[in-house]
Symmetry: C2
Subunit: 216 residues, 2 copies
DNA sequence: ACCATGCGTTACCTGCGGTAACAACAGTCT
DNA sequence: AGACTGTTGTTACCGCAGGTAACGCATGGT
């Protein structure tokens, strides 16, 4: 019964191949951005399209596999920042800074993760399928952060719901501010981090009106 | 010299035509989502592709024109909420609610605005052009809100910078939370609005730790 | 009468995602 | 050994998208 060992060897070989293909895809995405074509990826890997399709099914499959690697990496970095032994404010600042540093270091990857072209199947369903399309990374980050908040912070009844809302909200804040900052570079990373943390710390509620504002 | 009058009449006719085309495109986008094809739009308008291209240049042009209409509409609604004569907290809640109500009412339009396929030109520039691609609507909203904050709130030195950061951050928060909420519908709109406003009001900084958290 | 201009068409090109259909080679079973 | 099976790779193709060139046809100014 040599089949099992042979099958196993073939399986590990396939996984190895898969990793090679993903690395090639990575290089192309890093170069061409999110609209990298399957042809280009296949060429970079030194093979032709159908092999890619045999390994990943369709473009969405490849992109999902590719995205998961980076998402996992980013998530573990963020978790480290969230888990640091420090006060809450410092942890929040560290998390923001980790995210911003990551997108600053590899903008093309970030761009790919956030805007994976269209991916989603044509989905002839009539119902609103809004949401499934948009950057799975954002969703995952939001859910993850929501879980962490729910675990660590005492929000009373309905706390879990609130924590999820906050998780998605904070991630969205981080993302949009980071996206804008990465484009225009209007200030240093430190200042951006501090301002966002200030926002989360309720400074908006505390500061006074300027003259000429509404009467109330 | 009849040319001027004739030219003028033709110009207004062209503008009229343009509006008709935009309305047809609107209908198709409302039905097919953001991946509406030029062929489909032309068919809906009762004409053929080249006319569309003569009017709007390329797909990006049409989509930009289409987006601006909706963006303007949404922006004016938001401005109304921001300008209401009420306390800051109420204005913030009203703004959040206005946005959420809008995306709830017409998800396909919202989806189109946020993810206009690829739009951006192939841009052979080498430098990172990150940012220009992603939803111009988010940028515009962020800038707009930043301006309003800078006008109304006293943030001391560097206030304008801070206001812009906050503008983009808050808009991103609203957007991500709204996107998630629209997909999963985990709670009522009122609760979402209240939780987000709470977040902006610094509740994250105030609430206590749960037992079992980090030692610090 | 003439011709410039704008609206509209048909027919085409390119490049994409995706899929047959077939060639070559490994190891397996008898 | 030799037939059998499954994996790896190829070429050639389909359908559809965005985009364009070349041509008909009306209209209105000179």
């Amino acid at each position: 019964m040599e089949t099992t060992r042979g099958a196993e060897r073939q399986r590990t070989a396939a996984e190895h191949r898969r990793r090679e293909l993903l690395e090639a895809a990575d290089r192309v995405v890093l170069r061409d951005g999110p609209q990298a074509s399957m042809n280009a990826i296949a060429a970079e890997a030194g093979i032709t399209k159908p092999i890619l399709y045999r390994h990943f099914g369709d473009k969405g499959g490849l992109y999902r596999a590719l995205a998961q690697r980076h998402t996992d990496a980013l998530l573990s970095a963020l978790r480290a920042a969230l888990d640091a032994p420090a006060h809450r404010r410092e942890r929040v600042e560290a998390t923001l800074d980790t995210y911003l540093a990551a997108i600053e270091a590899r903008p093309q990857v970030y761009r790919f993760l956030m805007h994976p072209a269209d991916d989603a199947a044509p989905s002839p369903e009539q119902g609103f399928d809004v949401g499934r399309h948009s950057a799975p990374l954002l969703r995952r980050l939001g859910e993850e952060l929501g879980k962490v908040i729910a675990e660590r912070v005492d929000l009373g009844p309905d706390g879990e719901q609130t924590a999820r809302i906050w998780g998605h909200g904070i991630v969205g804040m981080m993302h949009a501010a980071g996206d804008w900052w990465l484009g225009d570079r209007p200030c240093s990373r430190e200042q951006l981090v501090r301002s966002l943390a200030d926002l989360l710390w309720g400074r908006l509620a505390e500061v006074g009106d300027l003259p000429g504002g509404p009467v109330f």
